[in-house]
């Protein structure tokens, strides 16, 4: 527990934590307010069945879904970079070396480090979601959209589970960044390789959808799809996307797999730097 709380304290004081969550919140608020200001007087589109009407972003209870999708979708990419930055810096700055030289267990240290990252990601998702909902209320008022669905009990009851699933999907992406940076032993290399992997998978999905649907970012995205909702995005996968329940299992598999790789490497690595 000492290591876990130490990990949390380090993350709370780390500028990268607040920069990451700040950018995510800033983007979300900007988009929601811009949509709110832009939809004033318009009605929902009905012509194109596949098109997503921007007004949905400020129309409750559907707005809950949209904000959560944004938070976990873009948040996943941010979590990837964040996980890579934290793990990579332990090697780049030599702080992992110092802990090992003090007799600390390598596996325990890295596990505590990852768990503290997962907790911070959970806090970031929650904060972003709450701020996003507040921004959507403001946007709805700007756009003259009713906020009558704000207290929709069915949606609100479902929210904790959806937030939990969203958190799992995002920390899986964070675990990938964590593992890649651990293998690379570098912040920058980890972030760069992680982002390349993210976009590479998205690009490959165009040509190899039946394979890519099992890959980490696609399953993370598929696990968040709500039946009947109109989702869009890089890894939506369309008809080839896995069902959410299967995707959830694969999210767990990728999460555990990425962590095991990171821990095994940390345990066996010769620390020469």
């Amino acid at each position: 527990m000492r290591l876990f709380f130490s990990g949390l304290r380090k993350l709370v004081r780390r500028p990268a934590t607040w920069t990451t969550v700040g950018i995510l919140i800033g983007l979300l608020v900007l988009i929601v307010l811009a949509v709110g200001a832009g939809v004033n007087g318009r009605t929902l589109r009905s012509g194109n069945a596949n098109a997503v009407d921007p007004k949905l972003l400020v129309t409750f209870p559907g707005a809950y879904d949209r904000i959560l999708q944004f938070t976990t979708g873009l948040g996943g990419l941010f979590a990837l970079a964040y996980g890579a930055a934290i793990a990579g810096s332990e090697w780049s700055w030599g702080t992992f070396k110092s802990a090992v030289a003090r007799g600390e267990s390598r596996v325990r240290y890295m596990t505590a480090s990852y768990v503290s990252i997962a907790v911070m990601i959970g806090f970031g998702i929650l904060l972003t979601f709450v701020v996003g909902v507040v921004a959507a209320i403001v946007g709805a008022n700007l756009g003259g959209v009713s906020t009558g669905g704000l207290g929709d009990s069915a949606t609100l009851n479902d929210l904790p589970l959806r937030l939990l699933k969203g958190w799992l999907a995002v920390i899986e992406e964070g675990a990938l960044g964590f593992a890649i940076a651990t293998l690379a032993r570098s912040q920058l290399a980890g972030i760069g390789a992680g982002i390349a992997f993210y976009f590479g998978e998205g690009f490959a999905a165009i040509f190899l959808p039946d394979i890519v649907k099992y890959l980490p970012f696609s399953v993370a995205n598929a696990s968040l799809v709500v039946a009947g909702s109109n989702t869009a995005g890089m890894f939506a996968g369309g008809a080839s996307a896995l069902p959410a329940d299967q995707a959830e299992v694969l999210v767990a598999v990728w999460l555990v797999g990425a962590l095991l790789v990171a821990l095994l490497f940390s345990d066996r690595a010769e620390i020469t730097g």
Binding site: S6, R13, T95, S98, A101, R102, E104, E270
Partner: protein, 284 residues
Amino acid sequence: MRVLTGLIHADGGTVEMLGRPFKRGDRHRLFEVGALVESPTFYPYLSARANLRELSASGAHVAPRRIEELLDLVGLCDRANDKVQGYSMGMKQRLGIAGALLSDPKLLLLDEPANGLDPAGIVAMRDTLKALADQGKTVFVSSHLLAEIQVMADVVGIIASGKLVREGPLKDLLAMQGVVKVRVQPNRVDAAIVTLGTEFPAERLTESDRDEGWLSVRVAPDLAEAISQKLAAAGIFVSGMESGTDLEMLFLELTGGQISGEGNFVGLPASANGDASAGKGTAA
């Protein structure tokens, strides 16, 4: 040192630490060890106090007041709340030493502890390490600053190209490597060498390249008086004299003058004297 701190694993031989074998997986034994391996490492966005606090979360348990004691010991109390990224090299080095001392170790491993320290800092560091040794702790220092080692160490090991070529109490090693330096009139140096050459082997007599009129006789320091008398009897009067022992000379003798396995330093051409050709001097 990396093997001793569990950072890398020996691919051969055995390791013994504090009198007992140290094997892979014996990480709990590192609770008795404090180490500063290569450069000190910290979270740059945290203060010195916070860095020590977070470091103390790993390994052996550390009482919170120990952090304050160490900040005081290394003279960082006034800057303890400043972020480490604003620290000078010397301050980081002092903080690194504090980090190594966190768990009050029985064995302290320090790699180039004087790096970046100013002269006052070096003296303070030396006094601190001596005080720790007086408390019964073993202080193991790896350094290229042989003069510093000479005034600090009790036991010395000399490593050349990765091999331990000599090890033993410093006094014993230096007894074999005394030096008497004498200064005579520059035009009498050759005569002095001839005179002393009747008493000592020629390879023990060296004229200084840097200081005109100085010559070194590599003999036990207690022969200084006899050398002075010998020169005086030959009508060569000594205007300056130093005697002692020199770890650097011993090192050069044992290693054959090679700098290290990392490559030889190629000296500047004698004619360079600051002109453009000085660029020919390289370090490989």
